[in-house]
Amino acid sequence: MRVNSFFVDENVTLRWNTTGITVAGTPNAFGNASNQLYNPWGLALTSENTLYVADRYNNRVQKYLRGSLNGTTVAGQANATTCVSYQCLLYPSSLALDDNENLFISEERGHRVVLWKKDAIFGELVAGTGTDFVVYV
């Protein structure tokens, strides 16, 4: 194991174990089961170390209680489907939590920012005007 220490001042040492632990997803096995991810992107953590992950190609956001590898879907659809409605996400890219665990989500291909309040089953538009679904007229 490599050891890197960074002495910021006499009180602080910064160093990390260079061997990682998987805390979400199944390495090299993408999918939409509760223990899988498909191209994860945005991350957000609460003060209790609850982890939220923007599960990009699964069009959902997964929540992991500390120590659990099984995620629950808190935004979008657990089965990874997408749709033109506020019940779905389209390529979520990043996350921001407020102190009440309400979740702001940017959608790369939804071209919008939505707010999913804690335990909500649909999002509310915060900014942006639409998706890049092709609409036939």
Binding site: L45, V126, A127, G128
Partner: protein
């Protein structure tokens, strides 16, 4: 005929929004609008944004951004730290200014795998001491920069070695820290999130 609706470059529109940063005090939301090469500010309850960085087309000049990815708003200096993807650098853009200044990476927008270079920097984080952390996607590593320094050190992954064992990464997109400064890495093509314990 198929047409695309809803996305664009209006002040109420995005083109591939990639990162949001929310100021917890004010509720103001900042969004990196990647395809429009700009950063927008949305005050709480307002869905019309105000341009705060970029907006001059994609490019490597100091008045331009080139596919901005992660953003971090530093309230003390009233400025953004921006992962400037195709310029392969990290820049600081003070609100009200019309130019960025270099924080890390190469001024001439060249990519590389040296300790002071990046290749497609995607994610970043700044700790309470002002140290900078960068998810250096195509070098498949996480770089650490002591505050004010331009020479980085690798704290996760091995430069240029893509993989899925416990010491390697496969194109990290984003990083985050918990209260104990343990490092979390969205290991995008590894389809996992890795945690690196601080000790």
């Amino acid at each position: 005929m198929g047409i695309l609706l809803g996305w664009g470059n209006g002040t109420n529109q995005f083109r591939y929004p990639y990162n949001i940063f929310r100021d917890k005090q004010s509720g103001t939301l900042y969004v990196s609008d990647n395809g429009n090469d700009r950063v927008m500010r949305f005050t709480e309850g307002n869905n019309t944004g105000v341009l705060v960085a970029g907006g001059n087309g994609p490019g490597n000049n100091t008045n331009q951004l080139n596919y901005p990815m992660a953003i971090y708003f530093e309230s003390l200096s009233n400025s953004f730290i921006i992962a400037n993807r195709y310029a392969h650098n990290i820049v600081r853009w003070r609100i009200g200014d019309s130019n960025w200044t270099l924080v890390a990476g190469n001024l001439n927008a060249s990519s590389g795998n040296s300790p002071s270079s990046f290749s497609n920097p995607y994610g970043l984080a700044v700790d309470s001491m002002g140290n900078l952390y960068v998810a250096d996607r195509s070098n498949t590593r996480v770089q650490f920069f002591l505050a004010g320094q331009i020479e980085g050190r690798t704290i996760a992954g091995i430069t240029g070695v893509f993989g899925s064992n416990s010491t390697l990464l496969n194109q990290p997109y984003e990083i985050a820290f918990d209260n104990q400064l343990n490092l979390y890495v969205a290991d995008s093509y590894g389809n996992r999130v890795q945690k690196f314990l601080r000790y």
